[in-house]
Symmetry: C2
Subunit: 357 residues, 2 copies
DNA sequence: GTGAAAGCGCTAACAC
DNA sequence: GTGTTAGCGCTTTCAC
């Protein structure tokens, strides 16, 4: 209601004068410090209301040395082209927006935003997809505009985690870093996810089980496959035909075609993410293989793609929003106690049974 | 490299001492103000390098009264449940993350981030999906943490545009507000989009043309339909069977079923967004109607859904990233000259021909 | 062309 | 329990 465009918004001083107390007292009331007489609290609160006072963040930050803001950094390697973020905008179109347009990242943001706003905080969105952009991120953080960084790394060879840690910036990663870095992270028990998929396919009576994996230089892909293989071995399946994809729909189609060529007998399939699974479904339909009757398909992520497929995808759910919330909690904790040693929190996946398997 | 965790990072004072000049001079060099002897500039720059100085944003903001940050606000009405943001996470699951997980919103973020970072700025992400959250947004902006707001409104009855304008917060909307508000916005020429779809279907020789519309309380839906109808009328089609959806996949399926029931003769279809079109495709396939031979389908948006469909969707492309970039440009302009009167910038859609029509 | 000095609005010792 | 006071690090007149 009050006019922000006016000469100047009211300051602590104004409120203090109005209330007939000192700035310090007003400050105490605002910051919820006890030691203030209830009746005076009332007077102050009334003065705040009548003046329309709003604290100035810059002034506060200057003295508290806190921005009360965190950065949400989506980070790739030198070039572009997303991995898990492989929601392509067109064949061969290395579209810049790719990373952010990925619903997977959207789920992360959702978890972060939802957690932060309870603390009246909000994330600053940053894209670090080039050397330059990475420098910008570091400089931005060093300027103190944010108290720390939530880092979602797309590429295995992303240098940002190390850079940030070296610069002394508090940060928490969304997944275990490929190279060991003394930093906190949240992650999924990807192996367990693979096991879940294997158990489900076996329970469905599948005999010829194969997999379309993610890029094998990504830890998550390796782990999903390893868990899947181990569980199958335990069920008496010593060998799992595999085809490597890169998390995009097109790569799922390619991998499915290749797999069908080499192993036409396949009747059970684990695909390392939903988007590739959707591609696999396309190819199976073209080839006249019924899903789930001829081939049972299990995806991974439980993304929106899983729901928009027909048949709807049975898939391994990552609790991405919860993971993101926990990542945020860890960061805030770390900002409060910069000394503490890094921790990790691992989440369990769950199988979501739909029509495809 | 320098240790941020150390006692305190270097200040202007430190640099000044190192360079043997005054704070003012260092400040001038940093802010690129002339009137500084080139040789002294060099000395200062060297001092900056050796001290590892980084300006403190809070201190700067305090005196410039600029945050050099903008807010990107995704705003719904009281409850949740997205319109254009209808990328549902499950039938009947009013998932909070919905809005942010929508690739449409992702494209907007991408455009915004991409534009801002050239100015070394980054957006603060805020979700305003409840009365409380809306208050938080206003308060946050009034605290001066951001210089203005980019507003992406999902619902027709969103009160935020008016609130923000009334509070004197510079802002720019992503689409024309339903109720007249003196505020700048960018938008698409939705009517032209409808016309594009109509012309294309007619050119493909379709005789029985129908439409699945978006929610008709949304201006964009109305305009897309109006443009579509007008163009068809010009081609001698006086009547267009319609079914209303709500931008979700499921609603597309429902609408398609209803349409097929009432108008089995349909051979051409315009769907107001790609996600509903994907749903329509599912139903058509179930019913044994070949696309595009039996029924030609044109979508809207050119989202990732259009590419993940089979057949791939012919659709009307919105240049969302460019629109978002322009929206950002308008906001920055407005922040610089708060007096200027509002403007609007309307973008033209383009037909992207793929397999479905 | 450069320096000195006055704040920006707030918090946090420290006195009382 | 409350007021006084000293800055936080920066920009920006205003002298020189």
């Amino acid at each position: 209601m009050s006019d922000r465009a006016a000469k100047g918004s009211p300051t602590l001083e104004d409120v203090a004068r109005e209330a007939g107390v000192s700035r310090a007292t007003v400050s105490r009331v605002i910051n919820g410090i006890r030691n203030v007489d209830p009746s005076i609290q009332d007077v102050v609160r009334r003065a705040i209301a009548t003046t329309g006072y709003v604290p100035n963040r810059a002034a506060r930050s200057l003295v508290t040395r806190r921005a009360d803001t965190v950065a949400l950094v989506v980070s790739g390697a030198g070039a572009d082209e997303g991995g898990e973020a492989g929601d392509e905008d067109g064949p061969g179109t290395p579209f810049r927006g790719q990373l952010l347009a990925d619903p997977f990242f959207g789920r992360i943001s959702a978890g972060v935003v939802d957690f932060l706003r309870r603390r009246a905080m909000h994330p600053v969105l940053m894209l670090a997809d080039s050397t330059d952009a990475r420098k910008q991120v570091v400089s931005y953080l060093r300027q103190g505009h944010a108290d720390g960084a939530l880092l979602v790394s797309i590429h295995a060879d992303d240098p940002l985690p190390e850079t940030l840690v070296a610069a002394g910036v508090p940060c928490v990663l969304f997944a275990r870093p490929p190279r060991p870095v003394p930093v906190s992270y949240v992650d999924l028990a990807h192996r367990d996810g693979g096991r879940l998929a294997a158990d489900h396919l076996v329970a469905r009576g599948r005999q010829h089980i194969a997999s379309i994996t993610g890029p094998l230089d990504v830890l998550a892909s390796q782990d999903r496959l390893a868990g899947f293989r181990d569980a199958l071995a335990r069920h008496g399946h010593p060998y799992v035909p595999c085809e490597e994809g890169n998390f995009t729909l097109e790569s799922g189609e390619r991998a499915m075609s290749a797999l069908l060529e080499r192993h036409p007998e396949v009747d059970g399939l684990f695909v390392a993410n939903d988007l590739m699974a959707q591609g696999a479904l396309h190819v199976l339909r073209e080839r006249g293989r019924a899903v789930p009757d001829d081939v049972a398909v299990v995806g991974f992520d439980d993304s929106s793609a899983a729901l928009s497929c027909r048949p709807a995808l049975t898939t391994v759910r990552q609790p991405v929003e919860e993971m993101a919330a926990e990542m945020t909690r860890l960061l805030l904790e770390r900002v409060d106690q910069p000394g503490a040693r890094p921790t990790s929190v691992i989440f369990e996946p769950a199988l979501v049974a739909r029509q495809s398997a």
